[in-house]
Amino acid sequence: MTIGLDHYLVVSALLFCLGLLGVVIRRNLIVMYMGLELMLNAANLALVAFSHFNADLHGQVLVFFIITVAAAEVAVGLALIVAIYRKRQTTDVTDLTHLKL
């Protein structure tokens, strides 16, 4: 049995669910960010698989852009986390409730 598109898509779906699980159940901002990275990577894997099995290189160009945007997003997000930590001395989301009335 050869490996087809659906095998890669199943791996991608499982990885996406793992990342989402990380964002939902972990309470540390940094680990939640790692969950976001996992989700982005799952999308990348699906795009590369589609690109390979459709004989269309545009998917890979899109993955290239996604990787770049993800890098920019991580830099800005981590700067925000550092700013929050300086102000509140915590990275736990259960402590970040100062928008609450």
Partner: protein, 167 residues
């Protein structure tokens, strides 16, 4: 051969991804970051199997080389020892896990119900990718570079000290 490699890399990716999120031995963010590196590397193995050689290299360079280092820097700026030693709230965790499992079933059902592609496949040669990038996708490419500049300026502004910002 390629089939065996696929199963090895897929299992490694999923196992390390699980350990990023849910490590039974440690809740230290550094451990999560290290397993994220392993996830990225095994995923670039999957990219090589899909003949996307350039993206496999970029994946390792950008993620394992830059993003993870950034994560580790930020973790070390804070104090990792007292990070997260409280218990999870059970109801919230249960509902979240159920929702994610449901989503997984929906996606898996969609994938299994689809008709598989039987067309020809393609190799992602770096030269072809570069040609495409600099002809058809030139405008997005330039916009991305501006985005990186904006991100850089934003990072510097965000991580400046408070007192300097008020002057």
């Amino acid at each position: 051969m390629a089939d065996t490699l696929f199963y090895i890399f897929a299992a490694l990716t999923l196992l390390c991804g699980l350990l990023v999120v849910f490590n039974p031995f440690s809740r230290n963010p550094v451990t999560s970051a290290m397993f994220l590196v392993l996830t990225i590397i095994s995923m670039s193995g999957l990219f090589v199997l899909l003949q996307a050689y350039f993206l496999a290299a970029v994946q390792i360079l950008v993620y394992a080389g830059a993003v993870i280092v950034l994560f580790l820097f930020v973790i070390m700026l804070m104090n990792p020892k007292e990070a997260e030693y409280r218990r999870y709230r059970k109801i919230a965790t249960g509902i979240g896990t159920l929702a994610v499992i449901g989503l997984g079933f929906i996606i898996a059902g969609t994938v299994r119900g689809a008709t598989p592609l039987t067309g020809k496949t393609i190799a992602g040669e770096t030269a072809d990718l570069g040609k495409l990038l600099f002809t058809e996708h030139l405008l997005p490419f330039e916009i991305i570079s501006v985005l990186l500049l904006v991100a850089m300026v934003g990072c510097i502004l965000l991580s400046k000290r408070e007192k300097e910002a008020h002057k």
